[in-house]
Symmetry: D2
Subunit: 145 residues, 4 copies
Amino acid sequence: MSGINKVILVGHLGKDPEVRHLDGGVTVASFPLATSETYNKDGKRVEQTEWHNIVLWRGLAEVASKYLQKGKLVYIEGKLRTRSFEDKEKVKKYVTEIVAENFTMLGRKSDFEQTPAASVPQSTEPKIQDEFTIGPSDENGDLPF
Amino acid sequence: MSGINKVILVGHLGKDPEVRHLDGGVTVASFPLATSETYNKDGKRVEQTEWHNIVLWRGLAEVASKYLQKGKLVYIEGKLRTRSFEDKEKVKKYVTEIVAENFTMLGRKSDFEQTPAASVPQSTEPKIQDEFTIGPSDENGDLPF
Amino acid sequence: MSGINKVILVGHLGKDPEVRHLDGGVTVASFPLATSETYNKDGKRVEQTEWHNIVLWRGLAEVASKYLQKGKLVYIEGKLRTRSFEDKEKVKKYVTEIVAENFTMLGRKSDFEQTPAASVPQSTEPKIQDEFTIGPSDENGDLPF
Amino acid sequence: MSGINKVILVGHLGKDPEVRHLDGGVTVASFPLATSETYNKDGKRVEQTEWHNIVLWRGLAEVASKYLQKGKLVYIEGKLRTRSFEDKEKVKKYVTEIVAENFTMLGRKSDFEQTPAASVPQSTEPKIQDEFTIGPSDENGDLPF
DNA sequence: TTTT
DNA sequence: TTTT
């Protein structure tokens, strides 16, 4: 039977997205995302930051590389995936990544402007989905019941 | 600026899905879903049930009408939408619905069998998405980093 | 068997929180929250805004009334609850509300400053939870608004 | 500024929970959880299973060890945490875990019965939360496994 | 290492 | 109107 594997993050990019083009023309982007939590420990305010490896594919990767930069605040929805790889010393290692399914830019509009003078292009999708998960939902007509 | 409007429910259908075909060939299905919460009140076990109006469009509606029946346990992800309508007395009223974006059948496989003897067709998708949100995600190849 | 009833919203307050003190000293706060979605319709950019009725109890209500104001961006997690009430004409009506379980202020720190000159107190909890979330939630009495 | 770090899983336990009692009397439980996704690849039905390391603290750990067993279906809500440890060869390694904040048992009631003859005690909380979720989460010390 |  |  099937299950649910869902991750919801709101945090800041630790670096600009790094984009790669695989053989076959598929685009992949990735970046670290920080989510911080603040709590009181013995009356002192402690901040704990967690770093997440975000991976985006195809169209999502392209939009991310265009609109997301280091420091920006984003909402990301995706799923967990742990994969193994060999490091330079041929040692098998594991990483857990969040494969993004859609993201939404948060924060001020000005935070997403390329330069102080430029304005965000009309085409900026506030909510961007994986093209294999994407699309308009035009069901805003009134329901017949 | 954009926002997030997400609902996650796990509950039982109160009735079979009710299906309608709008002019233009669009299919809409709807059903009530119960989510119950149990807590202790003065040492007694109290159950509180909340009823949700679930609405599904197009392909999702069709799959729902095929595989979901009264009593079944489902995971539903969607968004909130409040719409107004006029009742028979022409009084304006409001309903809040959950417009489903995808759902997953939970519980035993046998719970989704049509009849004790029949088995669920091979084509039953455990996770079914709105066709405007849908699609295979074949990014299972190894990442180059 | 039990279920899941979870709502996740990121949006802006439409008004300042309205605070009430019930008999028995319980504090309740409420405010409308807007989540907007933008999509393309026939090549044109359309924005659709959904309004949600947010309700907060006890300690959460108090923190909300202190730190949230009209226009602020918040992440809210809670559950759906539909309750009935009688309007002035004694007509039975229904409202669906989101009973908040915790919230996190998003956006610039300066967005949460009381006045341009004041800074957010050290004690501001970035993630604030309903102190009663764990146990029974006895707020099933009718709301006074 | 603060962020959101939330994981929502529905899956089956791969093993019985493993319970440990740390110095100081704190209880920790952990188990692997499988979430499977099925999709069509070239007309063939492919199942992909993802394994998650679930960690529970204190009261949650105790309830988990009592009611969850290998094979059971659960809804788990928690947060991601990546921690480092040294393996037997003193090599620094990283694991990403899901620190549970609450869980709900899904599936038939009979699935949670200890033995065919026994019934689940009246006191079984369908939704069980980490009693410390509200405040500080001081489980940042290294885990003993 | 789960489940269907 | 579901389920336990």
